[in-house]
């Protein structure tokens, strides 16, 4: 049952990820990306990480996708303004990506199933996560606030027009 579900979710994830790339309309790409995120959330549940799954749906499929749509709407997509890429460039990109794929497939293939080093029961529960986060990973947690602050200041600095209150 679990294995079948895994194959189904993986198939869906790969398919919708491919559709993200191949869709001509960027809005469709975003919608396919949402499906991808949902399937990945499903994978998290299969891995017994429920909190991560829910957060993934709330933050990625919910909030960040809205941002993606906004970005697409901010761009002026009326004209066919996409610059034409030369064939050599495409060829080089295909070769590079193909090499990366070969390396990753080659390195993951032949690896025996990874030993369950952290196979404690309930590793993905919110409770376990909280215990780890507020004890061992306390400093990264607090430093994250600095990261969020930097992003906030950056967003305000770039997004706010400065004409009006330059006189303060």
């Amino acid at each position: 049952m679990t294995l079948n579900l895994f194959y189904f979710l993986s198939f869906l994830a790969v398919l919708s990820a491919l559709m993200v790339v191949f869709s001509k309309n960027p809005v469709y790409s975003v919608l396919y990306l949402i499906i991808t995120f949902f399937t990945i959330a499903g994978h998290y549940i299969l891995l017994d990480a429920q909190f991560l799954a829910v957060v993934h749906v709330i933050v990625y499929a919910g909030a960040i996708m809205v941002l993606f749509l906004y970005v697409i709407m901010l761009l002026n997509l009326n004209r066919e303004s996409e610059p034409h890429k030369s064939n050599i460039l495409k060829f080089a990109a295909v070769i590079c990506a193909g090499l990366l794929l070969v390396v990753l497939v080659g390195s993951l293939k032949g690896t025996e199933a990874i030993v369950q080093q952290s196979g404690k029961a309930g590793i993905g529960y919110v409770k376990t996560l909280g215990e780890v986060m507020f004890k061992e990973f306390l400093l990264p947690f607090e430093i994250t606030s600095i990261l969020l602050l930097a992003a906030m200041v950056g967003a305000v600095m770039l997004g706010k027009s400065e004409k009006t209150n330059d006189t303060i």
């Binding site: 679990t2 906004y70 761009l75 909280g130 507020f134 607090e142 200041v153 997004g159």
Partner: protein, 123 residues
């Protein structure tokens, strides 16, 4: 792969199936049941009865985006509170202080945003 107790997710799965099923059924039903009249005027975009002009894809104000991005940042902040809330009792005052530091740092950011007028619409 660990085998989580998938039966526990049955209600959630059912909910998803029903939600999806409802949407699909209504869409198909309206297609089948509704009358079909395809003339140029019927297929036109309806814009409050005024004749539509131009394209819907106009670049819009950056302020929407600014609000959205600030929302995402605070959304992420809230996510951090779930693990804390679940462990609230076992973390005691220590956890409370740690969370207070985190929140107050972001609160500084919030007041900064207000002071900068990033959320003011009419400027």
């Amino acid at each position: 792969m660990e085998n989580p107790n998938l039966a526990e997710y049955l209600p959630i799965a059912l909910m998803f199936i029903f939600a999806l099923g409802f949407v699909v059924t209504t869409m198909i039903a309206t297609h089948v049941l509704g009358p079909k009249r395809k003339s140029k005027i019927k297929l036109d975009t309806f814009e409050c009865g005024i004749e539509s002009k131009g394209n819907a894809r106009i670049p819009f104000n950056i302020k929407y985006f600014l609000v959205a991005i600030l929302f995402v940042l605070f959304d992420v902040e809230v996510i951090f509170m779930y693990p804390w809330a679940v462990n609230f009792k076992s973390l005691h005052w220590e956890g409370f202080i740690q969370m207070t530091v985190f929140i107050s740092l972001l609160l500084v950011g919030f007041f900064y945003i207000l002071k900068k007028g990033a959320l003011k619409w009419e400027e």
